[in-house]
Assembly symmetry: C2
Homo-oligomer: 417 residues x 2
Amino acid sequence: MNLIKKPVTGMKDVLPQEAELRGYVTDVIRRTYASYGFQQIETPAVESLANLNSKQGGENEKLIFRILKRGEKLKLDEARTPEDLTDEGLRYDLTVPLVRFYSAHQAELPSPFKALQMGPVWRADRPQKGRFRQFVQCDIDILGDPSNLAEIELILATTKALDNLGFSGFEVRIGDRRLLKAMAYYSGFAEEDYDEVFIILDKMDKIGTGGVRQELIDSGFARDAADKYLSLFAALDGKSGEESIRYLGDTLGDCLEEGCAENLLEIIDCVEKAKSADFALVFDPTLVRGMSYYTGTIFEISMPEFGASAGGGGRYDKMVGKFTGQDVPACGFSIGFERILLLLTERGFQIPSQGKKQAFLLEKGLSAQQTREALAQAEEARKAGDQTLVVRMNKNRKFQKEQLAAQGYTDFREFFK
Amino acid sequence: MNLIKKPVTGMKDVLPQEAELRGYVTDVIRRTYASYGFQQIETPAVESLANLNSKQGGENEKLIFRILKRGEKLKLDEARTPEDLTDEGLRYDLTVPLVRFYSAHQAELPSPFKALQMGPVWRADRPQKGRFRQFVQCDIDILGDPSNLAEIELILATTKALDNLGFSGFEVRIGDRRLLKAMAYYSGFAEEDYDEVFIILDKMDKIGTGGVRQELIDSGFARDAADKYLSLFAALDGKSGEESIRYLGDTLGDCLEEGCAENLLEIIDCVEKAKSADFALVFDPTLVRGMSYYTGTIFEISMPEFGASAGGGGRYDKMVGKFTGQDVPACGFSIGFERILLLLTERGFQIPSQGKKQAFLLEKGLSAQQTREALAQAEEARKAGDQTLVVRMNKNRKFQKEQLAAQGYTDFREFFK
């Protein structure tokens, strides 16, 4: 019986050329974040379903790969639902594991703790082009810092990583969940409707103000509320980011938490002055971000050549408390690793050269004496810093050398018997 | 409700200090193997159970984390066995995925193909000290090379990686499955009993020749066969590796596949002459290696300070054929990543210094102007190559600086309002 050659549905094999690029991007990101003092941690791929299903993961909780119980714990006869058969699953993001990790090890970690996590996550999404059921996430988070120094450092470090990968001229859009809620409250929406309102607002860039207004009304919201809401956005037309934040701060008055507008202004001011990468930090009052756990600032990376977001994050001050009973301020920024990789590939990105690559081709039947000699020379070349491949010579030597040249080998040495 | 803080049973969180060491070791290994022309690939964590349970994985097949089917495929009412509920599982090694990968992509890969894989694998082993249910494996394999150049290169590259990590004075023991079988055949054991005989032989270093003889007899094997078998080993006493191989070649005669002894001699000769790391390649006729898929040469790393094996591998020429119907010669060497890490930690290994680490401590309430200034200076320091942490100053500044000093920070700058 022949076995199955293809990877499982929705997951992919990574061939050498792509693996090399993935390794390079990983290195650049890791080095950049280390230079900002972020410390790498690792958490297991498997988490308990109690944590994964704790409403922190939003829609992702429907996409969990569940792991079958084993041994005596598996009671097949009594099982009525999938819940009876499983108590662990594959993580769907790195945030829930990070917060669990922090809750378990808080006493051993510095405060504030600047964490870096890079690793695969799994989501049983419907397979579609360019989306996979296993993909890498890359998150930095600062736990234990209530001040906006956290947001500033996260934005500076993330944009620097993108800069080191050759990206420029992009935007980081910034908003605040509290501002978003205040605008809805001010307009007369009920708190239980906010999520629905924000889902509609999130379409602003696609359907425009008219479209948002119509959809709000079609969804049964009061015409007055919709009009008041959209007039807030309309009033920002032509205003700079700074002017917009000041205008909203003044207009919303007591509807908005004190210091929220000033906080945004300070982040934008500090980042714009301290940044060494080429990007713009832009206030965007329509920015929503899906995850319901955000409690304050939210941000998202927009690349001009890429429709969707290439990363994002925000503040989530209430999640550690779900584990420990005591809230700890937390803020994170995630780079869309797979999207960055896609963009680099589309641009024909070449990894900076890393020294000479030479191949030693050894004819079949070479004597032990000759083989030893070739191997010793190869060791010498490696000591000198050259990547040196020793490989059996194929019958079609010309084709073999073409293949190797395509892999970047420039120097060839042939050993005949 | 408070959530679960601990990692799931048998898996562990990796704290920053260990994560840094893991990253360093990974980098050294990857760079070393790249210098030998090995190309990294990645395969998904999840494989189909048809492949995982194809008798290539030996005992590991009992330790698979199975993933529950989803949606319409999950027929809970009709399910009688775990098999009915699952068709995918987490990989328990990197060899089955590599061979599947090679079978799927053979046409796109060079021949011979020198592959490097590093990644986590999962085994639902009984939890015990120092053994985890998720751990990293690190394999190099050469596919498509029938010659012993494969073995030679695998041994040179693996030992060089260990050398680059500071290991010396260790042994690589080498044997051959065909020699092992010929010795059993010559002694009169039946082929169906080989596995049982080898399991007993494998205890030679613990129970000695007398113990092995007794256990063979206790297991019901003929006294004659046991005596003849052990006389073969006794005859090697005092002989060098080369003399032992020649003696066995002569004595076993037609029982042994032609060229098998010469092959071993050639590998040992070439490695000993070409090696640039400090280790000995030692012939060991009692070396068994558990996996039944090995078809020829087998090898294992012995560290003097470490009881168990720190890595191993061998030739498995029949596994690709299970996927494609056509055999492809294959040979691999796996470094015991977690064991290497344990050894380095026990030795108090220090990662070579990577430039200055300085921390900027910013007092709470610093003005935006002062913050900007500190951030800009930090960016300058990073440009100059210093790892620069910007962090909120804690009330207990002395303790914070002690913590940072323990992380390797040597320079501190404090910014007061």
